[in-house]
């Protein structure tokens, strides 16, 4: 994983700074975890192109001057996610569908997007800075972008919660996720619900990409890193819950920031990956849970 330019030191202030930097990073990982969880519970699929949607949104937004690029970036991410949704539906029509084929196809699409972004927007990192100075609060340096990112994330999560648990549309979505055949039998248009789940996933990943654009920035090849961070975040506390996925994102962000701050070399770069790999190896994820059982 790429190293974040974080200050080093052993004092309490430095520790708090690292913690805040980790939370700052974790907000975007958490936003990437939510679409992975939503798609898993609503379609039983894992979309490995989520990170690529974020990069696409960042690239498109960076290519257009001013704030107009932001909706264009989000639109591009939604379109990309909807395309993956249509590909998954085409795979579902096969009589003896291999569940791994969808994972492979989403990987294929991630490769496509990476190459597309490279061809169209080049190798230079995509980054924008709204603020040139850090705030100093009691000696602790904080980027003004941090509360903006956190605020946007909180608004999105609350909005998502209200959409899923307080509207008939959300009930239909949860019903489709819980029992597709049952949903069809009560007249819920399941394919449309699934397609809208992909578009929401694309939107959330796109927002994460825009936040990344205005904070750490991203290269065309960062999609896989973001997917791994998002998936790691999603699986840390349970793949079936989008909201736990967000907490997982904060955890991974903190692990990454602290390991970058206090260690170096292999451990610093690989710590978040190792944490997730160990959770996969020795965590509480039984076969049923990860296969799609919903607690």
């Amino acid at each position: 994983m790429p190293r974040s330019p974080l200050p080093r030191g052993l004092g309490v202030f430095e520790f708090i700074e690292l913690l805040i930097a980790g939370l700052f990073l974790g907000v975007t990982y958490g936003l990437l975890a939510i679409p992975i969880s939503i798609l898993f519970v609503s379609t039983d699929k894992v979309d490995l192109a989520v990170g690529a949607y974020a990069v696409l949104a960042a690239a498109v937004a960076a290519s257009v001057p001013g704030l107009i690029g932001i909706p264009l970036g989000l639109l591009a991410a939604c379109l990309a996610a909807a395309t993956v949704g249509l590909i998954f539906m085409a795979l579902d029509r096969q009589p003896h569908q291999d569940p791994l084929a969808a994972v492979l196809a989403s990987f294929g699409f991630a490769l496509f997007l990476e190459s597309f972004v490279l061809t169209l927007y080049g190798k230079n990192p995509f980054q924008r800075q709204l603020f040139s100075n850090f705030w100093s609060i009691s000696g602790i340096h904080v980027s003004p972008q941090a509360p903006i990112n956190s605020g946007i994330a909180v608004v999105l999560i609350v909005g998502l919660y209200l959409l899923l648990y307080r509207t008939p549309w959300g009930r239909d979505m949860r019903a489709s996720a819980a029992n597709q055949r049952g949903a069809l039998l009560v007249g819920i248009p399941v394919p449309m619900m699934q397609l809208s789940a992909y578009i929401i996933a694309g939107l959330l990943a796109g927002v994460a990409g825009i936040l990344i654009l205005y904070s750490t920035g991203a290269e065309f090849s960062a999609g896989l890193h973001f997917t791994l961070a998002g998936f790691g975040a999603a699986i840390l506390y349970g793949l079936h819950s989008p909201f736990r996925g967000f907490l997982g994102g904060l955890t991974i962000g903190i692990v990454e920031a602290l390991s970058n701050g206090y260690t170096s070399g292999f451990v610093a770069s690989a710590a978040p990956l190792l944490v997730v790999f160990l959770v996969l190896c020795f965590g509480r994820y039984s076969l049923e849970q990860v296969r799609g059982g919903r607690a």
């Binding site: 492979l104 294929g108 239909d172 039998l185 009560v186 819920i188 699986i235 070399g265 020795f282 990860v290």
Partner: protein
Amino acid sequence: MSLLYRQIPALAIIGVVLAVTVLIKDSFLWLDTSAIIAIYALLALSAGASYGLAGILTVAQASFASIGAYATAIATIRYGVSPYLSIVLSVALPVLIAYPVARAVNRLSPLALAIATLFFGQIVDLAIRNGGDFTGNYIGLSGIPTLPGLSSPLAFHLACWAIVCVVVFLYSNLVDSAWGRAMATLRYDSLRATADGVDVPRMRSIAFALAAAMAGLSGWLYAHHGAYLSPDSLGTSQSLSALLMAVIGGAQYALGPVVGAAVLTLVLGQLPGQELLGMFYGTVLILVLVVMPRGLLGAFAAIVNRFTSQKRQVRAAAPNEASRPASAGTAPTIGDAALTCTGLRVRYGPIAVCHDITLSIARGEKVLLLGPNGAGKSSLLGAIAGVVSSSGQITVDGKDIQRHSPNRRSQDGVAFVPEIRGNLFPTLSVEENLRSALRLMPSSKQAAAYQKMTGLFPILSERASTQTRMLSGGEQQMLAVAMAAARSPTVLLLDEPSQGLAPSIYGVLREAFEQLTRDGIALLIAEQNIPFASSIASRCLVLKGGRLVAAEGPELLANPERIAALFLQEDRKPATTPDQSSNASGLIQSAAIG
């Protein structure tokens, strides 16, 4: 599979390589391309073996190749070990790493396993990049010696393909061994393999380790081919290339990955720019998965099969369906009936499960669908509801619904309660389940319909906020019926509504069914519990071997001997021996009591 048939892949490679060698023996460029194809073929074979044999979609095969390549590079450059000795290290090291990794992660689902290999690949990549002088960090290692005696392009090309041949030969024979057949079982049904006494985690880990050995071998050849090795030489993109090659060729076949490696390497050479590589990979991968899920060899095999099966069908053409007499169902009177089926057929691929079903049910009628296990009862109900595909005509209130999707049919007046309450949403509350069922009704009528259903089953009001999965079986069945009946459908299909319920619930369901038929809803109920069925049905249809063999009144249910005779009769041969009849009636009675 015969011994000779098994050797076809290896023999095919020998034949093609010899023919190609004659053509390209004087071209350095083509000999080098051929050697690269062989190296990638080994890598693709390892991905194919892991995916096709063990069911592990691995996105880390190039990492194992990288471990093998670095092992030989470090041994030969730093310690002066002969490359022919370091091959042991290149093969053994990936195996020693792959086996414990597989043991650690193989309790996971195939999906999570694929992700775990992705994480593993990234960790290996970081370890190599941060390995200091030992691995050459980001810069890599140069000066790797060529293989002694194989420095000429022709010799190296032949050596590479000889190794591919040996690996394909061993792999083909392994797949067809008792061990390979056990692997095939666990690939598709690990539970059944466990029940057969197969140690699934151990077997999968061994298969994964064998695949890693192939990758290590590929890495060994790679290192001694190019003389230079960096972390990017065998990284994630090469893992994906290997997977793509296996999928394009056909991961289930020993020859598939080799074909995929050849096709892809040759096509990639024609691409105008490296930045387009990902778009090409992605498009091809998705197209192959959607259009040819079994790869080029699978598509070829399908064409051959179609050709040969057409020939067999021409030979075996015989009188069949058309000559059969009319079905035993009541002749449809479409205008008056709530539900009619005419010439309804259900097939699962090549297997026909319902033949020419013709039936008619009036409004307010309770019709029982009887039949032994496997008679096609659930398939028939599923076909009417639209969750199982079928041909023939289905009408509801005189309207043809055959082309309608399941959710459209629910708007047309069909409601279905599948076996074991399969229409419930377990993670939603009781109230949310009921509200979902009412979603198609005008909102002005929803409150009354909700009240009506909770009036029919008062316990549902008490459990309104409880998650459905927390209800008892009887409560779940009540909710399932309430959900299906909530919109006052024209016809309500129920698949074994008494299954797994305490007899005390039967009375509640019986009363509910009475109420629903009084409201004009037609009920078609598949049931095996004869005492329960006899108390609710006004007419019985008997399904046997996918055909309606009898349509009788409720008095049939009081005559176990007659039911047994219908259940046991051969198609078109109604007679049964008295012994068979009494045994069957005993079976039916015990099933009903149970």
